[in-house]
């Protein structure tokens, strides 16, 4: 297990609104992204996964505010940087050059009135002002080729491209400055399954070539099981379980992870019953006491409705590095 962090999120909380009206969408989340790994972040709609991504890149639309925590970026061979305290100019430089994002809406991520080339090039213009015009065009061409789009599409407008092509363009754009981290916020949700697979394959290849880390956000746990190294599960704004992908798939500890895993059919291996999770995600304005999952949890018992379980390594388990926040698996050392 590599433990060379490239991004460390420490106790991040994100609120929507201020004062008494504030709704806490992300609660005290700590998460580490290691160099070169694909970290999957899964959860239902409203669990706070996208908010987490927007929060750590400081792209939260108002009234979203980061109310606590730190986001530390470790540049290769450089001093760690606290992303949340960067100046506006520093932040602009940091964005895309170190952390790029591929957004959910493949259809709307490109500006409809500019050519693909213009939008690929303006990133280069903003971050590498010294680059010559020919060099920029050549780079844009190269980026398109990298994601498997023919060069003559450089002069196309977004509406002339299919959804899959647009998302490829976005992926190409995300790699324009060879960032160390690429955040993918449901990058394939708007696409059909065949296109999903193609794009993810490509992503895996590109990741090998350019060695960036990926924070992959999705509600589709089945994708993560296949494509990510580690998986973190979010519920009600908290990380409830974190484990290597294969471990989580085989033996999930948190009843919520278990529910998610039993919400899609396995293509290989023995048949399993599809169960799903009864009930609906918690209302962030009035979170249940104790563990926020307890009203929907089939295994809830006495302490669940009273105390909030802390994320930690469970005492009853040896072996791979994994963490869970559940009273069924009390953590090894509460001082941890």
């Amino acid at each position: 297990m590599k433990t060379d962090p490239v991004l460390e999120i420490k106790g991040l909380s994100v609120d929507y609104g201020l004062g008494n009206q504030a709704v806490r969408a992300v609660r005290d989340v700590s998460l580490t992204l290691n160099r070169g790994e694909v970290l999957g972040l899964a959860g239902e709609s409203g669990s706070g996964k996208s908010t987490l991504a927007y929060g750590l890149t400081r792209l939260l639309p108002p009234p979203g505010v980061v109310s606590a925590g730190k986001v530390i970026y470790y540049p290769p061979g450089g001093e760690p940087v606290d992303v949340l305290s960067l100046t506006p100019a520093g932040l602009r430089e940091f964005r895309w050059a170190e952390t790029s994002i591929v957004f959910q809406g493949a259809m709307n991520s490109l500006n409809p009135v500019y050519k693909v080339s213009t939008q690929l090039i303006d990133v280069l213009e903003a971050h590498q002002p010294g680059m010559s015009r020919q060099a920029r065009t050549a780079r844009a061409r190269e980026l398109l080729k990298m994601v498997g789009i023919s060069e003559d599409r450089l002069d196309a407008y977004p509406h002339q491209l299919s959804g899959g092509m647009r998302q490829r363009v976005m992926i190409g754009m995300a790699l324009a400055l060879e960032p160390k981290i690429v955040i993918m916020d449901e990058p394939t949700t708007a696409l059909d399954v065949v296109m999903q697979r193609q794009i993810l394959r490509q992503l895996v290849d590109l990741r090998k070539r350019f060695d960036f880390s990926v924070l992959f956000i999705t509600h589709d746990l089945s994708l993560l099981v296949e494509f990510s190294d580690r998986i973190a599960i979010m519920y009600g704004g908290r990380i409830v379980e974190q484990a290597p992908a294969s471990v989580l798939y085989r033996d999930s500890l948190h009843p919520y992870s278990d529910g998610l895993l039993h919400s899609f059919p396995a293509l290989r291996g023995p048949r399993r019953d599809l169960v799903g999770i009864p009930g609906s995600p918690p209302d962030l304005r009035s979170m249940p006491s104790g563990c926020s999952f307890h009203p929907r949890c089939p295994k809830a018992f006495d302490p669940c409705s009273v105390d909030v379980p802390v994320l930690g390594t469970p005492a009853d388990l040896q072996g791979p590095a994994r963490k869970v926040a559940c009273w069924l698996h009390p953590i090894r050392n509460s001082a941890d």
Binding site: T57, L59, P61, P88, L91, R92, E93, F94, R95, W96, A97, S100, I101, F103, Q104, G105, N108, S109, L110, N111, P112, V113, Y114, K115, D122, V123, A126, H127, Y157, H159, M170, M173
Partner: protein
């Protein structure tokens, strides 16, 4: 290109339809010019004079509607708009060329200015939502909801009078001869300041509100978040990503407004007795001056069509999605 030609054909057809309607409308107005003139003379006119007036205006020929229509079209083709009854014996074309520049300059310039100003303020108000510039909105909306003639009269009452720099009415100092002399231009400018200011005050709010709301809609789009995430400068995101897209609906509105420049603002000219097309039109209607009414309608119609055509072209240039291939 074929799209362009199709648009052009559409506009030619519309122009023809407008010309035809333009032919019929004055003939549907009750009364005729001779009796209007007779009424104007308060009966001090004898039957022989009435007869000669009728002959003079060409109303004695007892032509059928169809004959009148064909000769109307033939005249138009020659650029002959007939002779104005009300400004006899001036031809309509000459009345129009005297009045048009006043309207075009005053209303045209103010329309463009108010569009630019309102749109720019709208960009800022939409971008910095909730800031002081956004707080201008209620004030400008209030100003644009005031009936224009009232705003104009208040302006006249407040800012003009004996010894004031701003004249209350007219297009230039009486006694000056229109021409390219410094004195005349100075006087014309001074006369246009107050009407221009009132037009801008009354119309800037509309542009501001439209642009501000489009900005708010557009800034919620994903590509704006992407532009921020790309680390582009705030100015670039605001102008090239947000405003560039938010502008599109305003462009069609601007095309319409430009088309209405020629005929749409007769209230301004009426309040300030400004010697433009609007004032001529009121005059022509009062005098049953068919040829002049027709001439003005013709100019207004063509202006609206031309402005819409230009707006179409601008839209095609600005929004690639409206361009059809082939």
């Amino acid at each position: 290109m074929s799209y362009f030609l199709r648009r052009l054909a559409f506009y030619v057809f519309t122009a023809w339809a407008a010309l035809t309607i333009n032919f019929f409308i004055p003939r549907l107005i009750p009364g005729d010019p001779v009796s209007a003139l007779v009424n104007g003379m308060r009966g001090q006119i004898d039957p022989a004079q009435i007869q000669s007036l009728t002959v003079l205006f060409g109303l004695d020929k007892k032509q059928s509607m169809w004959e009148q229509y064909t000769s109307y079209l033939a005249q138009l083709a020659r650029g002959d708009l007939g002779i104005s009854f009300g400004n006899f014996p001036l031809p309509v074309s000459e009345v129009l060329t005297q009045a048009l520049p006043w309207t075009l300059l005053l209303i045209g310039v103010t329309t463009v200015l108010s569009f630019l100003l309102g749109t720019l303020l709208g960009v800022f108000a939409g971008w910095w939502r909730g800031s002081w510039i956004d707080g201008l909105l209620p004030a400008t909306t209030f100003l644009s909801s005031i009936p224009y003639f009232w705003l104009g009269l208040i302006a006249v009452a407040l800012f003009t009078g004996v010894g004031s720099f701003l004249p209350a009415s007219g297009g230039y100092e009486p006694g000056l001869v229109p021409g390219w002399s410094g004195e005349f231009i100075d006087s014309a400018l001074r006369h246009s300041l107050l009407p221009a200011a009132t037009i801008i005050v009354a119309s800037v709010g509309g542009w501001l509100l439209a642009m501000r709301n489009m900005m708010v809609t557009v800034t919620a789009e994903d590509y704006i978040t992407v532009a921020h995430a790309k680390g582009l400068s705030e100015r670039r995101v605001m102008m090239n990503y947000a405003a560039r897209n938010a502008l599109l609906p305003s462009v069609s509105g601007f095309g319409m407004a430009l088309g209405l420049v020629v005929g749409g603002t007769f209230l301004v000219e009426y309040v300030f007795s400004y010697p433009g097309i609007g004032l001529q039109m009121l005059d022509a209607i009062a005098k049953h001056d068919y040829p002049l009414i027709q001439g003005i309608f013709l100019v207004v119609t063509l202006a609206v069509l031309a402005a819409n055509f230009l707006a179409d072209l601008a839209y095609m240039a600005l929004d690639p999605r409206t361009r059809k291939e082939g």
